[in-house]
């Protein structure tokens, strides 16, 4: 059936681990992973709960294709009410941890309450127990993963953990698995830290059983892998150049947010691009990029493994960073680089390593540094307050601020609150480039109009992974649309949002959607879960998940006023490139979007819409 039909409920207050059956009625309506975890979450917590209180819950969930031979079937999600936004948070990660959870026989783990002392959860197939983590508290994700493997004398254990950022409740702390894969957005790591839960370590040896029709599954997954291999994007472009190939593209079209969105093109974009990662360095004759890498079961292998220049000022006295490690991916390279005007590739990788080591989101961190740099240039923040001169373009400031945030020291504590709270504190809330207090990713919505609507309406705050219309507006996938116009974008955003919810809920990577449509996913799900999983049903499930998340946010206190963009994007025209003179046309797109969604003009799902979706 694709599911193990088994949930582990961990009460951290009482120190108990209990098995319970998966609610199959809900699985039939929400599929798995993001969808099913959200259903459990909204059913079990008060939408107005303080995200960092023991009453919030944290759910780690797999999908029916997680751990199977479906390509990219290694994804799992971490869901909770998010501390950065106050909205529903659902962060998705690859690597190998999700598959291991499935191999151990579990579909999801629900954490509730708060442990009186630091603990980690150890799962070995059916056995699950909380263990003392006092020797791990205060250490990094990297140390934690290694130490747990040593403690158990088992290098095959898979670990998800928080670093100092999660312990310090940095509001954009992540959960790191497999050293450099992250459930990265909305601060899910801070919720884990608030519960005194340092890590989850899993060893599963059962494999995945219960595939409904195995011969059909073998056929469907094989055919779908061929689609990925034959596609020029997933078969060639992503493995060789990774997501970073977008740096020059997005700069060329004038949609690369630069210096806290003051500009839309970065003069040093080429220095921090995928092409630059392939070039040999003058200092040591080696290229930054060492190799590509794949998550569990992935036949794309877009991941980047790089080696920093040992002679660079950031690491010349820190040999622990000299080895090959994860990064840079496009979002991190943008946020650490163009967003604050830094064109030093090695400095970006150093900051990225610190993000992975101590577990914080490079997107929100980089964007918050950008806001701090703008406040510094305005004279609102001083060198004395920040601890270093911090003009746009300073690699030294970027490195120092990453160290301070990782350690939770000095101005790093203020950065750890994210840009919305920091900018409000210093009297300039308008300088936070965020929606619902979550910072934008790497696309300026003046140059890619549809992304403005996608950001404004994303259920977890500004995000590219909830409705990636860049695929259509820039890359021509599945069809090319004009990025500079607002017409037709309401339908486009809805279509991307609903389809993405299905990819996420299935337990596969959304990057497959550069080659696959839902019509490629459906035969795999039908073979794994049952023939009732038709295209019609998948489309309905995607829309149901979206509306359920929206209902939670509305109940948490969000309104249509929160479906908005910062004034800079609505009133300050782009200064260069094809979008020169344009602002984002959210006012034209949003009412149409509500209509297309079947919501009231106030952004509330109508009774008819809720009835149609069984909500």
């Amino acid at each position: 059936m694709g599911w193990n039909r088994k949930v582990l409920r961990v009460n951290l207050t009482q120190g108990t681990c209990k098995e319970e059956p998966l609610n199959m009625e809900w699985a039939n309506e929400y599929l798995g992973s993001r969808g099913l975890a959200a259903k459990y979450l909204v059913s079990e917590i008060d939408p107005k709960v303080d995200p960092l209180s023991p009453d919030n819950k944290l759910i780690m969930a797999t999908g029916p294709l997680t751990g199977t031979m479906a390509s990219t079937g290694g994804r799992y999600t971490v869901s909770c009410k998010g501390p950065l936004t106050g909205a529903i948070a659902c962060s998705n990660s690859g690597g190998f941890f999700g598959a291991e959870m499935k191999f151990a026989g579990w579909d999801m783990v629900i954490f509730e309450g708060k442990s009186p002392k630091p603990v980690y959860l150890f799962i070995e197939n059916d056995k699950a127990e909380l263990r003392d983590a006092s020797h791990l508290w205060g250490t990094s994700c990297w140390h934690t993963e290694e130490q747990i493997k040593v403690d158990h004398q088992d290098p095959l254990i898979r670990v998800s953990s928080i670093g100092k950022a999660g312990e310090n409740q940095v509001l954009f702390a992540v959960v790191i698995n497999d050293l450099h894969r992250a459930a990265g957005r909305s601060g899910v790591g801070a919720v884990m830290g608030s519960k005194n839960l340092k890590a989850v370590a899993i060893r599963g040896t059962k494999g995945v059983s219960g595939i409904k029709d195995f011969p059909a599954f073998l056929k469907a997954t094989t055919e779908a892998k061929k689609v990925l291999a034959d596609n020029a994007v997933t078969g060639q472009g992503l493995p060789k150049f990774g997501t970073q190939v977008l740096m020059n593209v997005i700069n060329e079209i004038g949609a690369l947010p630069t210096r806290n969105h003051r500009d839309v093109q970065f003069e040093d974009a080429s220095k921090i691009s995928a092409e630059a990662m392939h070039e040999k360095r003058e200092s040591d004759g080696k290229s930054h990029l060492v190799t590509n890498a794949a998550c569990f079961g992935c036949t794309i292998a877009c991941g980047r493994i790089s080696q920093i220049d040992k002679n660079h000022f950031t690491v010349k006295n820190s040999p622990q960073y000299w080895g090959a490690s994860g990064g840079l991916e496009y979002e991190a390279a943008w946020a650490l680089g163009a967003a604050n005007g830094v064109g030093d590739l090695e400095a970006l990788q150093y900051a990225n390593l610190l993000c992975n080591e101590q577990g914080f989101d490079p997107i929100t961190f980089g964007a918050t540094v950008a806001a701090a740099m703008e406040l510094y240039e305005m004279g609102v923040l001083t060198k004395e307050q920040i601890g270093i001169d911090a003009p746009f373009g300073s690699a030294q400031a970027l490195a120092k601020l990453a160290e301070m945030t990782a350690a939770g020291e000095g101005f790093g504590k203020e950065l750890g609150q994210g840009s919305a709270r920091m900018c409000a504190k210093y009297g300039h809330p308008e300088l936070s480039m965020s929606v619902k207090k979550q910072e934008f990713p790497a696309y300026d919505s003046r140059g890619i109009q549809g992304m403005g609507l996608a950001y404004a309406t994303s259920n977890r705050g500004a995000c590219h992974l909830r409705g990636y219309t860049v695929a259509s507006e820039v890359l021509g996938i599945p069809v090319k649309t004009d990025p500079l116009v607002t017409e037709g974008k309401a339908e486009l955003v809805k279509a991307f949002q609903d389809a993405t919810a299905v990819f996420d809920a299935a337990g596969i990577c959304v990057f497959t959607s550069f080659a696959w449509t839902l019509a490629d996913v459906q035969p795999q799900l039908a073979a794994a879960c049952g023939s009732e999983w038709t295209m019609e049903k998948l489309n309905e499930v995607g829309e149901r998940i979206w509306n359920m998340e929206r209902q939670f946010n509305n109940a948490a206190g969000f309104t249509n006023k929160d479906d908005n963009l910062p004034p800079r994007l609505l009133t300050e025209p782009a200064k260069s490139g094809p979008a020169k003179g344009l602002v984002n046309g959210l006012d034209k797109m949003l009412p149409e979007y509500y209509q297309v969604r079947g919501w009231t003009p106030e952004g509330v799902p109508t009774p008819e819409t809720l009835a149609r979706l069984g909500l």
């Binding site: 020029a232 994007v233 990774g242 060329e252």
Partner: protein, 83 residues
């Protein structure tokens, strides 16, 4: 007239050796079209996927007739994506 010619990702190898990064400046005759430059530098047509002039997308059907102007920046990528 002068134009900027940029080839990215796997197309970088098709640029002349005097490239600076992914760009060369070319002296071309008036009336030069996108398609003729793609052919002159032997870029496989199926690999010239994302074609931008001054950042604006030019669809395949317009590339044979689209004449470049002095100062234009022509940038070309193979099929790529990211996130």
């Amino acid at each position: 007239m002068k134009i900027g010619f940029k080839l990215f990702a796997s197309l970088t190898d098709y640029l002349p050796s005097d490239r600076k990064g992914n760009r060369v400046e070319l002296e071309v005759e008036e009336g030069t079209t996108i398609a003729s430059l793609i052919a002159r530098y032997q870029v496989p047509e199926r690999s010239a996927h994302l074609v931008l002039v001054n950042g604006l997308f030019i669809p395949p059907s317009q590339r044979p007739a689209h004449r470049l102007a002095d100062g234009d920046e022509l940038a070309i990528w193979p099929p790529i994506a990211g996130g």
